[in-house]
Amino acid sequence: MSRYAVNSLLYQLKKDPAFRARFVADPAAAIAEADLTDAERAAFVARDMRRINELGGYLHLVMSIPGLAAHAQPRRTR
């Protein structure tokens, strides 16, 4: 798992509106140069934030990227 690459990409998506726009237009092209595993690349291309989180993406990033943020539903207390 390339934890740094996943999170660096998430951070760039959050903080760089121009990069985010390129990603929204063509995810595969936008991340072509990123050092990702096949699974990580597939998750980004699918914009699957839950999968990205499972692969090591920090929760606060996957929940706060403008326009791409995961919006989890309440579950339960214990």
Binding site: R50, N53, Y58, L59, H60, S64, G67, A70, P74, R76
Partner: protein, 281 residues
């Protein structure tokens, strides 16, 4: 001789709209109840006419990114800006209506940093890092329309493993108390975040909390029994979703053995909201 004149800890997304979106009407009602208690605490803080307010909080990968993630960082300088975020989502939206620049107590921040390094704390420093909701939601809720005193923002790395230990955070809080005692200033201190939410930082587990764990923490802080808390492990905090209790550990070190007064504790599916004040005598 200086003195800590106010100490409190509280949740740090203090926004009814956020909780209504996340938890429905009950979420709104509970955060409004917490905010009322925090505003009342702010009235008591204002009555102390504190010279400075130390704010111990965490970064949500906003200020530090992956260039560097300091274990503990002291913000120095004369002012500190609010974080900016285009098209803010979720907890970032909480910031939008808040002032964009805040005064910083340069002399106290410098003393915490310089005396800390001299005492063996390898502190990071920043002149430029902005502060996010973890700092500003509590600060603005405490102060309302009153002037905000000069801040001393201190970050604790609560989320990016390996985090500093609970014991180390407590020791750093004791350092803060020594610095204040040797200073000429009357100082307030708050710690923010929590309680239990986002266990294991897993999106699949957002919506779970560990109330049993939180009640254990509260049991100890109400009694001023801080020794058991020193042995809290990173694994315990991660699994329970109480990562941000490390901020509280700093405050506990600063006020130990004072007892906590729980002003508000409210369970929600997403998070256990809390507002706690210490009786400093």
């Amino acid at each position: 001789m200086g003195k800590i004149v106010f100490a409190a800890a509280m949740s740090h997304v203090l926004d009814p709209e956020y909780y209504e979106r996340a938890c429905g009407v009950t979420g709104r009602q509970k955060v409004e109840a917490a905010m009322r208690e925090i505003a009342a605490m702010g009235t008591r803080l204002a009555a102390t006419t504190a010279d400075a307010l130390v704010v111990v909080a965490d970064d949500h990968l906003n200020a530090f990114s992956f260039t560097c993630v300091p274990a503990i960082c002291v913000r120095i300088g004369r002012t500190v800006p609010r974080m900016s975020q285009d098209h803010a989502e979720a907890f970032d939206r909480v910031l939008e209506h808040m002032p964009t620049i805040y005064p910083l107590h340069e002399a106290l921040a410098g003393a915490v940093l310089e005396q800390g390094v001299a005492a063996g704390f390898d502190l990071a420093l920043s002149w430029e890092a902005p502060v996010d909701h973890a700092f500003l939601s509590p600060v603005n809720t405490l102060h309302g329309t009153r002037p905000i005193p000069p801040l001393v923002p201190i970050w604790v790395n609560c989320f990016v493993a390996p985090q500093p230990t609970a014991r180390r955070c407590f020791a750093f809080g004791q350092h803060l108390a020594r610095v204040v005692a040797a200073s000429p200033w009357r100082v307030g201190i708050i710690a923010t975040g929590g309680l239990s939410h986002f266990p294991e930082l897993s999106l699949a587990r957002v919506g779970e909390t560990d109330t049993v764990f939180d009640r254990r923490l509260i049991h100890w802080i109400e009694r001023g029994e801080h020794e058991p808390l020193l042995d809290l492990t990173g694994d315990e905090l991660h699994k329970s979703g109480s990562h941000e209790f490390l901020n509280w550990m700093v405050l506990l070190g600063a006020v130990t053995p004072a007892r906590a007064l729980v002003r508000y504790f409210g369970e929600l599916p997403r998070i256990n909201l809390a507002a706690v004040e210490w009786s400093l005598g």
